[in-house]
């Protein structure tokens, strides 16, 4: 065995010994770094916010499909064979725990807001929220629900006493908007929610088409004389006057106005009936709870064209019930939350989320600075909301602002937080008053600015909040589908890499109908969106858009 040349193993052994023998201080340093690098995650591992496979299949597809259509998709809360969520599940206070509650209507939402929080075991704890009106940085006026109930009685009795049946509400986000809406519901008057800042002709057209008899508007928001010339059948006008302008006399009608509209002023009505009870009527005077009319922008037609859509109370409570149950149990709307809608409450989706917050006894902070293009920072002047509802334009502007202003800081910190977000852990953001949840929505058939997946991803890093991106349709109360709050992916779908809109809500069922170019075959569901359920006006609606379902069973544009 002892040849002149040593065997290959002996040579390898020799080489290995040489390598291992050449250790020095640097070896120790690198070895230490290696050991720390291997052991560090054992102590500092952050679990993702949600188990990742739960995001891999977010809605349930039916196993059978009709020819010419795709399979129908439903939320995982209401699988096929079970009824869709149709209401608020309101139980009487003394009822046994296992009774199924009634669907309810908007009056039950107000009654729950007044009476306080009811826990899971049906025991009321008495926690109640409050409503703030935020007027700039200095002033935030707080209202209790008892006082607002008295105001509801005052306004409702005033309008009813004059015999009117249809009231148009043309206000920015404010306490008066909520009070008018609930006064109309309690007293059997049909409310018509008109988005603020319309041109006069459009407003007159809306009033004419809806046959409004009473108009509640902010003082000075519209020229009354011209409006009365265009729409002569207005019977009553109620001005909502700011505190700073109350010294002026709004009651007088200029000469030669024409029409016989009575003019009243909001704060006078409230003061006249200051001794009104805060007990709300249990029965609706005039029979049934009224339907609510919404005016929606018809973005695909000519400029300034609109559509009037009438929702029943059942549509709206189905949507509100679905909004409450779609959030995970530990992240639901709670009495500790403060909600600020930056989008106008005359739109369906912000109103649905606000009603869900009221039903969950959260507090509201209403600011008149609201609309599609308001800056994001206006939600934080005077209040620190934990939940914000914003339009996509607002958020897109916020994203661009951050990228422009902080571009020199975007570097390793941003990269590190992006990595954390990609693994499913939301990184904390500096700042004390950050919201925990931000709602935003896309309107089909209207001109909304879409948020790209990368913008949506970066928004979570800039604001430190979880996001909900909802897809809404004009004829559907609430949303058709909305993203899971723990879904942090930034993958795009379709040819243009667009965002997805999450699984359908539990109040709707969706499927796709084949059109000429898009057919659902080979396991892929694409086509014209057909939505059905208790939250839809008329039970079923076909959207004009072509949408598809992604591999995670979420809704997306093709």
């Amino acid at each position: 065995m002892a040849a002149e040349s040593t065997s290959i193993f002996q040579q390898l052994d020799f080489q290995l010994e040489q390598i291992l023998a050449s250790w020095n201080i640097y070896t120790l340093l690198i070895g230490l770094i290696l050991v720390i690098y291997l052991i560090y995650p054992l102590f500092y591992y952050a679990e993702p916010d949600i188990y990742p496979l739960l995001l891999a299949r977010q809605s349930a597809a039916s196993p059978v499909r009709q020819p010419g259509e795709s399979s129908s998709f439903r939320s995982l809360e209401t699988p096929h064979g079970y009824p869709l969520k149709s209401g608020l599940n309101v139980k009487d206070p003394g009822a046994p725990k296992w009774t199924s509650g009634k669907d309810g209507d908007l009056r039950d939402i107000w009654k729950r807001a007044v009476s306080g929080f009811v826990g899971n075991d049906d025991k009321p704890t008495g926690e109640a929220g409050k409503v703030l009106t935020v007027l700039g940085k200095e002033e935030a006026i707080e209202y209790t629900f008892a006082k607002l109930s008295a105001e509801i009685n005052a306004i409702g009795q005033h309008v009813k006493a004059h015999g009117e049946g249809r009231v148009a509400i043309y206000l920015p986000n404010s306490v008066e908007l909520l009070v008018s809406l609930f006064a109309a519901t309690f007293y059997g008057i049909t409310p018509i929610l008109v988005p603020p800042e319309q041109p006069l002709d459009t407003l007159a057209g809306i009033l004419r088409e809806t046959r409004a008899e009473v108009l509640i508007a902010g003082a000075g928001a519209l020229p009354l004389t011209e409006l009365l010339q265009q729409y002569k059948s207005l019977k009553q006008m109620i001005w909502v006057v700011e505190r700073t302008s109350r010294h002026m006399d709004w009651n007088e009608v200029p000469e030669g106005v024409g029409g016989n509209a009575d003019i009243a002023v909001w704060h006078d009505i409230i003061e006249d009936k200051a001794s009104a009870p805060s007990e709300l009527p249990t029965e609706v005077l005039g029979g049934t709870v009224p339907n609510i009319l919404f005016v929606v922008e018809d973005g695909l037609s000519a400029m300034d064209s609109y559509e009037i859509i009438e929702f029943t109370q059942k549509n709206i409570v189905a949507a509100v019930g679905a909004q409450i149950s779609v959030l995970p149990r530990n992240h639901r709307l709670a009495p500790t939350d403060l909600l600020t809608p930056l989008a106008s409450l005359t739109e369906m989706y912000p109103l649905t989320v606000t009603l869900a917050a009221l039903f969950s006894n959260a507090s509201l902070a209403l600011t008149p600075v609201s609309g599609p293009t308001v800056p994001y920072s206006s939600a934080f002047q005077g209040a620190s909301p934990t939940i914000v509802i914003a339009g996509t334009q607002t958020l897109s502007n916020l994203c661009k602002h951050h990228e422009r202003v902080q571009s020199h800081k975007i570097g390793i910190g941003h990269w590190w937080k992006s990595r954390s977000l990609e693994t499913g852990v939301l990184p904390k953001v500096s700042g004390t008053s950050n919201p925990r949840l931000i709602y935003t929505y896309d309107k089909s058939n209207a001109s909304t600015v879409p948020l790209s997946p990368l913008e949506f991803f970066n928004l979570k890093l800039f604001t430190g909040a979880r996001f909900v991106y909802a897809f809404t349709d004009p004829r559907v109360a609430g949303a058709v589908s909305q993203t899971n709050i723990f879904d942090y992916s930034k993958r795009g779908h379709g040819e243009d890499g667009k965002s997805h809109f999450g699984p359908p809500l539990s109040s709707v069922e969706i499927k796709m109908r084949d059109t000429g170019e898009s057919k659902s075959e080979g396991g892929r569901s694409v086509g014209q969106l057909v939505i059905s359920g208790p939250a839809i006006v008329g039970g079923q609606v076909v959207a004009d858009q072509i949408l598809c379902m992604t591999d995670e069973n979420t809704l997306a544009y093709t």
């Binding site: 040489q18 291992l20 070896t27």
Partner: protein, 191 residues
Amino acid sequence: MIVQSSISPRLRPLLPPRRELHPPTFSPSKLTVPHSASIVSPINLILFSLLILLAYFRLRGSPTQSLPKGPEPIVFRTFTPPTLKPYNGEFNMPVYLAVRGKVFDVTPGRNFYGPGGPYENFAGRDASRGLACGSFDEDMLTKDLNGPLDNLNGLGDAEMEALQGWEERFNEKYLIVGKLVPVAEGPKKES
């Protein structure tokens, strides 16, 4: 060429390496690095590249988890008795049977309804009369596949009740994948 001593190879690893010219630099006074203890010695390079490799694997990020896609949805079809007959489990076809005009996919119950099972006569056929009477005989099934469907005459209340029970069980347990119509009302064959 390093000359090894006469120490046998087995003992060699136990001895301190003889080429070590400098002691390990533990002494704090020797903070200056001797010129031969360089950072690019082989062991350092190996450890460093190991570190870089581990850092790469950890920081590259894992692809999003996904579930494999489930089976494609079955298209709801209008069957006639001749078109339903092939679905009896032979040649890897699924097992269907019809009860009162509704076609059920009973492939999960292949042990019963498939070939070789006790109810195999029902596969691919209209099983209404057989289920009502509780019999698997051949004469419970309609003979003429091109004729009208079995209109269940001659069955008493008890049998109709039994059929109702069977139908409810099927509704709960199996998928409805089509409806059964006689040939006269069926879809025309496309040429």
